[in-house]
């Protein structure tokens, strides 16, 4: 079994603030890893640094054994950012955005192939947006836009998916659809790294959970049983609109495990 992602002592400093403080993280092929933690704990930064999208200020990260600058097989990775960037407001259709997910597989100066078209159609179908293909992405709801981003990654037919908060601000229907898509991917043996505030319906799919607190890894192992954690007294429910959480906002099950 080979290793998809391998970060050693990864550090990220942005504007003098230490966001990641020496994180080790290895993700093997076929694993489904959830990165959990409170807001501001460095979850997003961790996965972006894992891909080399966010440069490290210390430590190393390898993609299929190579540092990002020397990595050439980018088609093997499908990155799903937190939200759809609308840029300067030039319209783009759902199909155009999804088709751009083929970019790592396309040769410069070549026309779109039938394989490209088939992959795009399959991706649109998988997320249930085939009937919206010709609509501008700006006319879609937040949950539907999230599905467009996932379809864009699916269209590239990668080996590994990296999803940054795919469930944040998404309606129940889209969450259910996301869980279905992910379980299909897991069934096909794909590698998945996903950032989440809460696992919700994704919980049964996750094979391993990594918990960050203030830029440090505080747990790496079996995923928490969400129902139990929520039922525990004193569970600190952190909401996105709340100010940056203090140390005490660590999920209660982590504290329980550390005590054990």
């Amino acid at each position: 079994m080979s290793t998809a992602f391998d970060m050693t002592a990864g550090q990220v400093t942005i504007d003098g603030r230490k966001i990641l403080r020496g994180v080790d993280l290895t993700v093997d092929d076929g694993e489904v890893v959830a990165v959990l933690g409170a807001n501001g704990s460095g979850k997003s930064t961790l996965v972006r640094a894992l891909l080399g999208v966010q440069p490290l200020s210390g430590g190393t990260t390898l993609l299929y054994g190579r540092p990002p600058a020397r990595f050439r097989e980018w088609w093997r990775i499908g990155y799903v950012p937190q939200r759809l960037s609308v840029g300067g407001g030039v319209p783009a259709t759902v199909r155009e955005v999804v088709a751009s997910g083929r970019i790592a597989r396309q040769r410069r100066g070549r026309f779109t192939s039938s394989a490209d078209r088939q992959a795009v159609a399959a991706a649109l179908n998988e997320v249930g947006l085939s009937d919206r293909a010709g609509d501008p992405v700006s006319s879609l709801s937040g949950g539907q836009q999230q599905r467009v981003l996932i379809a864009r990654a699916l269209a590239g037919e990668p080996d590994a998916f990296v999803l940054d908060e795919p469930t944040a601000g998404v309606d129940a229907g889209s969450q259910q659809m996301l869980a279905q898509t992910l379980s299909d991917l897991v069934g096909r043996g794909k590698t998945v790294v996903l950032v989440a505030h809460e696992l919700g319906p994704l919980e049964p799919l996750v094979s391993r959970a990594v918990v960050l607190n203030q830029g440090c890894k505080v747990h790496d192992g079996a995923p928490p049983t969400a129902v139990g954690a929520h039922a525990l007294p004193g569970h600190d429910h952190v909401h996105p609109h709340e100010p940056e959480p203090a140390e005490s906002s660590l999920p209660s099950w982590v504290l329980a495990q550390e005590k054990a």
Binding site: R48, L51, G52, V53, F71, R72, W74, W75, I77, Y79, P81, S85, G87, G88, G89, V90, P91, A92, T93, E96, V97, S100, I103, A104, Q106, R108, G109, G134, D135, P136, R152, G156, V162
Partner: protein
């Protein structure tokens, strides 16, 4: 007498078509990359290039291309480095370009700031056959580069982080779009002048996006609007005896106002249908 009886007007019309096609094509990417004012910045810097041409006795178009491209690369490097003080750094570059141009032209024997007028405000009727070849060459190069790199530039302008995670040469593409923009500015300089050049890169795109749903049609329609504005503006300026650059830009803006109204109307009736 019609407009086509005159040699200089025929040249001017051909130049107008090329400018009308290239500026909005590049503009679509520039607007999507949130750099709508990039053309203005490059235009100011290009003025130093024009003045250097006068000073050294070389063709101002050639020196303008070189200086504008260097300026565009500088702008892109400032932008890529950090986003906090980027706009101030850009502003410094703009003022430097404008002041540099005025100072250099003052130091050039036999020239005065009046020599810059046709570059500042455009003088499309002064295009001769040599200019036309240069403009045509540059315009074809710009369109060819957009055709070859369009797919990658779309991803870059949509989301730079996704472009990086797709293994695209982000730094190279950023410089490429900046240099393509600077060449376009110099091509369009003869038609509408450096001070109005950005209008042709931005206004047809803004017009077209009121009416379209996809990136591809936005770009195609903006090129149609671009040609309508340049050719229409040039023709009406000829018959009305008014400055061509200003006429072209005002016509483009009028088109935007009309499209804004139509777009509102169409969207309202669409939502009306869906709620009905």
């Amino acid at each position: 007498m019609t407009i086509l009886d005159l040699d200089f007007m025929r040249y001017a019309l051909v130049a107008a078509v090329m400018v009308g096609l290239t500026a909005p094509a590049v503009g679509t990417f520039i607007v999507q990359r949130r750099l709508a004012l990039l053309g203005d910045g490059i235009g100011h810097v290009a003025l130093t290039g024009v003045a250097l041409g006068f000073l050294t006795g070389t063709a101002p178009v050639a020196t303008a291309v070189v200086v504008a491209a260097l300026g565009a690369v500088a702008i892109e490097m400032v932008r890529a480095r950090g986003k906090t003080s980027g706009d101030v750094a850009l502003a410094l570059l703009f003022y430097g370009g404008l002041a540099g141009g005025v100072m250099i032209i003052y130091l050039t024997p036999g020239e005065s700031t009046a020599s810059l007028n046709s570059y500042l405000f455009g003088a499309i009727t002064s295009v001769d056959s040599t200019d036309l070849w240069v403009i045509a060459g540059l315009a074809v190069t710009v369109l060819a580069l957009l055709a070859v790199f369009g797919r990658e530039l779309f991803v870059l302008c949509q989301d730079e982080e996704v472009a990086r995670a797709s293994g695209l040469p982000v730094r190279f593409l950023g410089l490429l779009i900046a240099v393509i923009a600077s060449v376009t500015v110099v091509v369009a300089m003869r038609a509408v002048g450096l001070l109005l050049v950005s209008a042709l890169m931005v206004v047809p795109v803004a017009t077209s996006q009121q009416l379209t749903r996809s990136f591809r049609t936005t770009m195609a329609l903006s090129m149609v609007f671009g040609v309508l504005a340049t050719v229409g503006g040039l023709t009406s300026s000829f018959y009305l005896d008014v400055p061509s650059g200003a006429t072209i830009v005002l016509l483009a803006l009028a088109g935007f106002a009309v499209a804004l109204g139509i777009g509102r109307f169409v969207r309202r009736s669409r939502t009306g249908e869906s709620t009905a």
